[in-house]
Amino acid sequence: MSKQEDKDRKGKAPSPNELAMASQAAESTAASAAATAAKEKAKKEKEERRKQKELELKMKGIDISGKKPKEATTKAQRRALQEQQRADKGDKGNKDQHRDTASVASTAGGRDSRAETASQHAAASANPATAHKKNANVNMSNRAVLQDKRMHLYLHLDFPQHPPSSASALSLIPTLDAKNTDVAERGTGDSGALAAGIENAAHPPGPQVVVGMSREDYVAAETGEPATVTITDAAGGPFEAALRDAMPPFESGPGHRRIAKASGGMVGIEIHPQIKEVGLRMGAMDIVGSNARTESVLAAFVKVIDDYVSPRLAVVNRSLHQHISVQINFLVHQRPMCIGMGNAIRWLKHEIGLLPADIKDEEAKSTLISLIGDYVQERISAAGKLIAESGAQKIQDGDVVLTYGASSTVQRLLLTAHKMGRRFRVIVIDSRPQSEGLGLVRKLVKEGFSDLSNATDSASASSADDSHGAYGKGRGRSGMNGGVTYAPITALSFLMREASKVFLGAEAFLGNGAMLSRSGTAMVALAAHSHHIPVIVACETYKFSDRIQLDAVVSNELGVPDELIYKTGIPDAQPVGSQSDQTLSHMEYSAYARDRYSGRPRWNNLSFQSKDAANDSGSALAGGKGKGKGARASAAAAAASSDLTPEAKAAAALKANCPLSDWRTTSNLHLLNLMQDVTPPEFVTVIITEVGMIPTTSIPVVLREYKNQI
């Protein structure tokens, strides 16, 4: 299909839309535009040809990096930017330059000026750096930038390849359109609607929003560097600095998330789609938990290795090592690795390094894939099974087991004990904002933990209906024989008296015996310790690390601060938009770590969007799925008329119910969503591992054993 369109494009004269796009590109690369204008056509064709080739290759599952041409244009673009900034300093310098460019290539100059008069907004999206000087409305341009990123994300998802630079991206548009129509035809709708929305948007020539902002910001978003988009205007809300401000006493330390920088060289190397999927899902907290993350990443790496074709004349282990590093970098940008995952990847790299230099591709691949399979089997699955079996022995009839959050290992352990016929009650303590414990409760209920009908001393009759009727009697129904209790972490000291054993999962054990785990675990362990209740931790040995950390502030993972705004159980205090909108498929999140973890308003912070929808006609972004087009079209009308959209109403209710909803604009108010906790070793009674039940002091010993094995 795309081929056909390309032909169409070549056949007819450049459409006005295309001209505008071209002008946009010219605008962004103002000075070099004149120089490149002549070459552009030839380049375009070249790019298109390359594109075709790539698409064909892609169908065969082979990717080609478009590294070289991109770098060249980046340099040109950067030079252009510098020049433009220099020009902007002098008042008439700008005009002079335009005149110069006009004299050199009148067409380019003409377009340039036309683009400027046509839309400031488009300019904003085209070149944020200059846009902020020109455009007083920082919010507006900022949103345009965000929108750009959204487009980029689509590109990012659709193509394994990075979006090319401004000039070459032109050739991408037909492909993109083809892709979108394709999607629309298939009826999934959302991305098609989005594309349509962008075409109909207030930004005049739509798709070159993609063209304009492209690389610099994109790369910046990938590397986590503050890019040209950095907005210094405080009135627009606290941005990057907000994160730092959130923890003023600890500037150097806690949670100040350091996103690994990508080396310039890796940018062009493509990320495997499988890695993208896993990475994005991890970033969106769709895949959580150490075991799940590690397993899915290793499974993705099996695919990566399987699809890998080493370049000619390259040594397999070297090039594969590099290839994998790039993939890992992408993963880390989405969400910092957990320790187990880090260990697994370190092991994988080690194994790659061990491959002989003269090994054939196929051979190397099959070796690695089988090794990964063994690792998953041995260190994760089988280990978990062993832990569950030996841990289940520790549960006796009549026990009251308290657990926190949702650990896959502990869940397995409890289910094993249940299957063994042990009658015990489970207390699940949970906390905001993740509320992972709810998942565990669901699982336990599904497995019949709350079903007391066959309990020995249960008064209720044996029929399911009767036992069902016995429910709802409040607290008494969870007896010593079973039942599930669910409580927030604030109820911890209230419930700890009832517990007889505490089972916890861990993200990692550190060299000093401290346990790294979901925030709140340390409180549970402390409460158990002070009530003299044994704390039993189920943890596979692959999660052991020789790192040492004394408290949770020195290094931590920061969650999305906005999650703290909302309140559970109050219908009006929920994120605007239904729960189903909060999924990856609807793009209700930012794939850019920088957006997720900084003070910058996120896309899925719909309260902002719908609030602004009333003030801001141009760039209103409707929240719900498939509404993009309509909301945008009617944004101006909505601004004029006073009747509120459902989103705006919901936003108003949200504001009334959640005092923190405007925390970004309140000075000296910050939200801090710490994700991890370091539990001191003295709180942990025993660790159940696949190598036996060990005290925390034995962790260095186990680590040493494994090192010796390797």
């Binding site: 923890m247 003023p248 006493p249 600890f250 949970d430 906390s431 905001r432 904002p433 409760v441 669901r442 209920v445 709350s450 079903d451 069902h468 429910y471 409040g474 607290r475 129904r477 969870s478 039942g483 599930v484 209790t485 669910y486 409580a487 927030p488 972490i489 604030t490 109820a491 911890l492 000291s493 209230f494 979901r518 925030s519 709140g520 340390a522 402390l526 409460a527 002070s530 408290d551 949770a552 502030v553 931590n556 703290l564 309140k567 559970t568 159980g569 109050i570 959640c658 005092p659 923190l660 309140t666 000075s667 000296n668 108010l669 910050h670 939200l671 801090l672 969503n673 710490l674 991890q676």
Partner: protein, 391 residues
């Protein structure tokens, strides 16, 4: 024990309506916040004193106890009702002999002045520069004297008119004291907060809010607010505290242990202070205090004297209530709600050994001193037992 009608003859129609209204509100749980409950109860007690038929201090006490018992029946776990009723009973027993003594001997006159001064010291006087030790000695001696005098003069005819107005003015003074408690406590703020400290507080407390904001007039510091899960009233607290001199950081309840490593001081509000110095505070407070103890952070509790409850918490759950579960597990998931016990207690009991200082209107006290302080505030055990149903 007593039916409402038993004393209805003693109450005016208006008073009866007032009592019934208050009871209805208590039953519906409309009254939130300890100060509101305290003030309403005190106002009602004043109304009882002013607007019911009684001819003797003892009769009045009986009336007050009856009303108190009815209030407690409506809201058995509300410690503040007990506090206020006990306090008013104390005021009555102090004021009743005082007016009797006016017409008799010189010794009695001397005794009354002492009683008056003691009463003043009890209610409002202590907030001055007087040290606790002085207040202690003075009130002990005056109590003995007052007891002697009151027993010797018990049978004397009471000058009802004077007694009533005295009692009412005393209650008025007490009400003002409750109203101003926060400001009085906040005057101590600078003694406890230093510049650039990191302070952690928990949930919503207007006393703590005022305390911190008063300190912020002179000093600049950071406050970490935990959100206190099912109610999330920490959000409001954070919003109220955010000001130029206070950097506020809101953390989820789960992050308390993690963040405690950097906290210098924990400043807590409470619902009630028990006689042993323990607290009945918002749920989650116990864990905060325990984490603070583990990290050796000082725990300062701000509580007005009206929050001092004259009983010992032998059974922690007696003062606790469970809240509706939908804040924890929304009812939307009906199957799950049906199968799972959801526990969402309203209060936590914080044992006194986790509390370092209790700050009230008169300054800081050790938890171990609270029982003695309460002896000045409330009458002897005989009167305290009124709220036990079998009495």
């Amino acid at each position: 024990m007593e039916s409402p009608k038993q004393h209805s003859a003693a109450f005016s129609r208006e008073l009866t309506a007032n009592i019934e209204d208050f009871i209805a509100k208590l039953k519906r749980g409309e009254l939130q916040g300890s100060k509101t409950v305290a003030l309403k109860t005190a106002n009602l007690m004043r109304h009882v004193v002013a607007d019911s038929r009684w001819d003797h201090g003892e009769t009045l006490k009986q009336l007050l106890k009856t009303v108190g018992r009815r209030l407690l029946k409506a809201q058995a776990r509300e410690l503040l009702i007990i506090n206020i009723v006990c306090r008013v009973l104390h005021i009555v027993s102090e004021a009743a002999p005082q007016t009797n003594g006016r017409s008799t001997t010189i010794t009695a006159a001397a005794a009354t002045t002492m009683t008056a001064s003691a009463a003043a010291a009890d209610t409002a006087g202590l907030r001055g520069s007087e040290t606790p030790a002085m207040g202690l000695g003075g009130s002990v001696s005056s109590r003995n004297l007052a007891d002697q005098v009151s027993t010797s003069l018990l049978r004397a005819e009471a000058n009802l008119y004077h007694t009533k107005s005295d009692i009412i003015s005393e209650i008025n003074e007490y009400i003002t004291e409750v109203e101003c408690a926060e400001d009085e406590i906040a005057r101590n703020a600078l003694d406890h907060i230093h510049s650039s400290e990191i302070i952690l507080t928990c949930g919503r407390s207007r006393t703590v809010e005022k305390f911190l904001l008063t300190a912020a007039r002179k000093r600049k510091f950071h406050v970490i607010v935990t959100e206190c899960a099912p109610l999330y009233d920490g959000h409001e607290q954070a919003k109220a505290l955010a000001s130029p001199n206070i950097e506020v950081v809101v953390v989820p309840d789960s992050a308390v242990f993690a963040i405690m490593a950097r906290v210098n001081k924990v400043i807590l509000g409470t619902h009630a202070v028990m006689a042993n110095g323990g607290l009945i505070a918002a749920s989650g407070t116990h864990m905060v205090a325990a984490a603070a103890r583990h990290h050796s952070a000082q725990v300062v509790v701000c509580a007005g004297l009206y929050k001092h409850a004259p009983s010992f918490p032998f059974d922690d759950d007696r003062f606790n209530t469970l809240m509706a579960p939908d804040a924890v597990l929304p009812y939307g998931d009906a199957r799950l709600v049906d199968a799972v016990d959801v526990v969402s207690p309203r209060y936590d009991y914080v044992p006194p050994d986790l509390v370092d200082i209790l700050v009230d209107e008169n300054g800081g006290h050790l938890p171990s001193y609270i029982y003695r302080l309460q002896q000045d505030l409330y009458d002897n055990a005989n009167d305290l037992a009124w709220n036990i149903p079998d009495q």
